[in-house]
């Protein structure tokens, strides 16, 4: 089963078309394994991207170097999945 330990969800706010272009370039870097939950389209729309743990350093460096603003929305995706799983198991054990 695929796990997501250390993966983070970043919400990126591009300030102009040039930054959107940079983010599109970033999305084409297949080796990073990025999962764009919301694609870079226009500066009015935020970009949400799940970054695998192994790519965090590279992605953060890229964003920092290009002065692209971002927030960490989910610190550890697996933590949230574990919570979700616990909750499902809890209700599954309820008598029907």
């Amino acid at each position: 089963k695929k796990t997501f330990e250390g993966d983070q969800l970043l919400q990126i706010t591009a300030k102009d078309e040039a930054q959107i272009s940079l983010l599109k370039e970033l999305s084409e870097q297949e080796h990073l394994g990025l999962d764009f939950w919301r694609e870079p389209v226009h500066e009015s729309l935020p970009v949400d991207v799940r970054v695998p743990f192994h790519s965090l350093q590279a992605v953060r460096a890229f964003l920092g170097y290009n002065q692209i603003q971002y927030n960490v929305m989910i610190m550890d995706v697996q933590d949230l999945l574990d919570d979700e799983q616990r909750e499902m198991v809890k209700y599954r054990s309820f008598p029907r």
């Binding site: 997501f4 969800l9 919400q11 999962d35 389209v41 929305m73 995706v77 949230l80 209700y91």
Partner: protein, 306 residues
């Protein structure tokens, strides 16, 4: 019974299918289950039919064509229970059901959904292998014969928006296509996704406005106003291409081109705090507010026959 079913948690496919069977058993005068086809991995494509008479025009809802969007399937369960609960009590819904059948496909992509429970919670696509590639699956919301192959979809099987080898290549899509064509009298079609809080109408593949754009826009405004009346959730609305991005081969572009005027697609909560991992305690609020918008669309459909 479906009264004991826990609507505030996520469920796997077996549990949802049990729910469907229970709902039918408890409400056999109103609800039946129809199987419109089979998925690639031979799972039944179950659709709930809510009907009070023969030969009615229909209204279609589907949830969960992207498997990882769990709050949509969970909302679909809640909608199904809401329909049987409100029928005979809510005069508007009762009147709608006196004139229209409602079809609801809760798990539109069952192979993908099962895969999100067993192997990869973040799986979005179908599970059909792609010849010549090690990457599996097609984005079923790029697989429809509406600008198929155009911008806003990918020809690379390893991307999340891979369109597939040809339009309607995915059995999950083809089953709906066949159903829509054979039914012939669907008057509204709402495909429900999450997230990012939007209500969208055609087109996605072209910037040419839909010929009914003014009416669709006004109805979207009305539906979003109804939705926001409950929890003030911030929503935007408009055509797909002007509101999010160009997307070719999308569901509602095809249904609109088939003549189903009231074709919409939703993006439910949230705005990125949790994305596809919306906590289960938000299932019911999400479903409740969305239901108000669905009612607005159904009511408008009833009041504006065409």
């Amino acid at each position: 019974s479906t009264d004991d079913f826990v609507y505030t948690t996520y469920h796997d496919l077996n549990s949802i299918n049990s729910f469907i069977d229970m709902l039918v058993a408890e409400n056999s005068n109103l609800v039946s289950k129809i199987v419109i086809g089979q998925s690639y991995e031979n799972r039944p494509l179950n659709v709930l039919k809510f009907s009070t008479g023969a030969n009615r025009p229909g209204i279609w809802f589907d949830t969960g064509i992207h498997s990882r969007e769990w709050v949509t399937q969970a909302s679909g369960i809640w909608f199904a229970k809401k329909i049987v609960t409100d029928y005979g009590r809510d005069p508007v819904l009762t009147d709608i059901l006196s004139n229209y059948d409602i079809f609801l496909e809760i798990v539109t992509n069952p192979d993908g959904f099962a895969y999100t429970h067993s192997n990869d919670r973040m799986w979005r696509k179908t599970r059909k292998p792609n010849s010549g590639s090690s990457c599996v699956g097609v984005d079923p919301n790029r697989n429809w014969d509406a600008g198929f192959g155009g911008a806003g979809s990918s020809s690379n099987p390893c991307t999340e928006t891979y369109r597939g080898p040809s339009a309607h290549s995915e059995p999950e899509v083809k089953a709906i296509v066949d159903f829509v064509k054979s039914h012939g009298k669907l008057k509204a079609f709402v495909s429900i996704h999450n997230y990012s809080q939007m209500l969208l109408y055609p087109y996605g593949y072209t910037s040419t406005p839909a010929k009914d754009q003014a009416e669709l826009h006004e109805l979207a405004r009305k539906a979003v106003t109804a939705l926001q009346s409950l929890y003030s959730t911030r929503y935007t609305y408009g055509s797909i291409i002007t509101t999010i991005y160009q997307a070719s081969g999308g569901t509602i572009d095809w249904t609109y081109n088939q003549g189903i005027k009231y074709s919409y697609t939703f993006e439910l909560r949230d705005t990125g705090r949790y994305g596809f991992l919306l906590p289960a305690d938000q299932i019911v609020p999400t479903a409740e507010e969305t239901w108000l918008a669905l009612m607005a669309i159904m009511e408008h459909t009833r009041n504006n026959p065409y």
